[in-house]
């Protein structure tokens, strides 16, 4: 699908969790085409002092209604302003951008691992795999119970959900990667499993280590700073674990990703 710039009407706005707003945007073409991993790049309305657009994963797509959902976490000036959008506003968006999580119907279990706002692409992934019989396990960690963006799709898709919070207010106390480590440690056979990760860098680094140690295939989506989102600024470099023969040492999060095979790239704080 070719990339375009669209003015998207905001249809709904809801508080998804403490400091996280869910925006529903009218975008029929993108709703049809979006797969988990795809993102759009939004201009921050009324903030000409903020030069760049802000990238957001497509969180959910309602293909019959022609809408997409985004999760906007209040992280800084740009996301603060975007979180204040109201139904009736229009957002200037570039999309669809990036690649998506690969899915092999022959898999036995897909293991989604989300840290904080890293939950964003996994609703769409659950939508995408709903018709397949593989086991769906979601490991989702946040600081506290109020920070979790809960979803009706978890039950609808039959996913087994493992929640963790750092303060123990819901689910296991601790970090999501530790919960995953316990889960993986309980079985010796990892054939047919795949890990999909999205979240903070230390979490991704831990996933990488686990996946490599246990021989589990894995993919992660990264959220680097980017000035454009479509391969022109070359600012969102991701370091390759091994330089290519032609000397290439970096890939671009926006164009080569944001989804990468977990063994292919390195994570730095």
């Amino acid at each position: 699908m070719s990339k375009s710039v669209l003015q998207l009407p905001v249809i709904e706005r809801a508080e998804a969790a403490r400091q996280v707003v869910r925006l529903t945007l009218q975008a029929p073409e993108w709703a049809r085409a979006a797969r988990a991993g795809h993102f759009i790049n939004l201009l921050v309305p009324g903030r000409r002092d903020l030069l760049w657009r802000r990238p957001f994963s497509v969180h959910r797509a309602d293909r019959s209604r022609g809408t997409i959902d985004l999760l906007v976490a209040r992280m800084g000036r740009g996301s603060e302003s975007l979180a204040e959008c109201a139904p009736g506003d229009h957002l200037d968006a570039i999309g669809l951008l990036g690649n998506c999580f690969p899915f092999d119907p022959g898999l036995h279990e897909i293991i989604m691992v989300a840290g904080g706002i890293g939950i964003a692409p996994f609703d769409l992934l659950l939508q995408d795999v709903q018709g397949f019989s593989c086991k769906k396990s979601l490991f989702y960690g946040a600081r506290s119970a109020g920070d979790l963006c809960r979803s009706t799709l978890w039950a609808e898709s039959g996913a087994e959900v493992h929640l963790t919070t750092e303060d123990g207010s819901t689910g296991s106390r601790g970090l999501v990667q530790d919960e995953l480590r316990r889960y993986l440690g309980s079985s010796a056979n990892h054939a047919g499993r795949v890990i999909y990760g999205c979240g903070p860098t230390p979490m991704l680094a831990a996933l990488r280590e686990m996946a490599l140690a246990l021989g589990i295939k894995g993919y992660v989506t990264v959220e680097n700073r980017m000035a454009c989102g479509f391969g022109a600024c070359v600012g969102c470099a991701v370091e390759l674990a091994e330089a290519r023969r032609d000397g290439q040492k970096y890939l671009l999060a926006c164009k080569d990703g944001p989804v990468f095979p977990i063994e292919e790239i390195l994570f730095h704080d």
Binding site: S4, F230, A232, C233, G247, Q248, K249
Partner: protein, 303 residues
């Protein structure tokens, strides 16, 4: 219809709007968004003799009405450029200006020599002034004698129009521009980015892996305009204005100050069709003002 054509040496552009090197990839990145042939021309990302991986992340940082970058000229090298990038560029009707850089004046000449057999290149732009390359691209344009030597070395290997791109990070851009004009440049383009820096106060780390980088965007436009005005008064060859230009109004400021053409850079990251909007805005302005051609506007600054 106003005649927007401009002459850069022997090159005739349909209109004065070009894209700035390092902000427009090799054209194809923008092909989904608009018809590239509506532009006066495209200036490619820098091509070097050997492939370069670029700098480690973080490479960019947003600043008030601007951004810092330290990309480090990643590119596939001139031979792969010909194989991978040129086929798309050569399919365009708009002028394609290939931006080149080297570690020495000899290397500049070698890259250009390697491109001479490629049919359809409209001109070369010499990137003396990228502040983010370790070997010191900066040094080529911070010393008038060295700057002139590079231009002269390249001049000796090509008859194609030659544009020397200048850095603002010098005491006298006018003196350096003059030396390059005397050494055979057909035009000057200015400015490249201004050296800048930002710090994350939480981690106390610099926001860029290379500590300092190049500032671009609307924040630098008045600085760029002053430098372009300085150059226009010092040289008789065309000057191409670059720096924070995002709209036709911005471009008009440069043209009124004496610029022959302009380049759109950072604005295209945010609005991919920014350069096209500048073309359309210039057409509208000229129609409204009843101008027959751009020469009526160029250098018309009222003092």
């Amino acid at each position: 219809m106003t005649d927007l054509r401009v002459h850069i040496g022997s090159l005739v552009l349909d209109n004065p709007v070009l894209t700035a090197s390092g902000t427009f990839g090799y054209g194809s990145e923008f092909a989904d968004f608009f018809d590239l042939d509506r532009l006066g021309g495209i200036v490619t990302k820098t091509v070097t003799l050997e492939p370069r991986p670029g700098n480690p992340p973080p490479r960019i940082c947003e600043t008030p009405a601007g951004m810092l970058n330290s990309i480090g000229l990643p590119n596939v090298g001139v031979e792969q450029f010909k194989l991978e990038k040129w086929p798309f560029l050569s399919s365009l009707h708009t002028a394609v200006i290939v931006n080149v850089a080297g570690r020495s004046s000899q290397e500049f000449a070698d890259v250009v020599a390697a491109l001479e057999a490629v049919k359809g290149i409209a001109a070369y732009e010499l990137n003396y002034s990228c502040p983010n390359v370790k070997e010191g691209g900066l040094s080529f344009s911070s010393d008038a004698r060295v700057a002139a030597e590079v231009t002269a070395r390249v001049r000796a290997v090509t008859r194609r129009p030659l544009i020397t791109k200048l850095t603002p990070n010098v005491t006298s851009i006018g003196e350096i521009g003059r030396a390059c004009a005397d050494a055979g440049a057909d035009a000057l383009s200015a400015i490249n980015t201004l050296v800048g820096m930002a710090v994350d106060i939480r981690t106390r780390k610099p926001r860029l892996s290379t500590v300092t980088g190049g500032l671009s965007g609307p924040a630098i436009r008045p600085v760029a305009l002053a430098r372009v005005y300085e150059l226009v008064r010092r040289v008789s060859i065309p000057v191409i204005g670059i720096g924070g230009i995002a709209t036709a109004e911005d471009a008009l400021e440069f043209i009124i100050a004496g610029a022959a053409a302009v380049q759109i850079g950072t604005a295209g990251f945010v609005h991919p069709d920014a350069a096209l909007r500048v073309v359309e805005g210039l057409e509208d302005f000229c129609r409204r003002e009843g101008l027959a051609n751009l020469a009526q506007l160029r250098g018309s600054l009222q003092l």
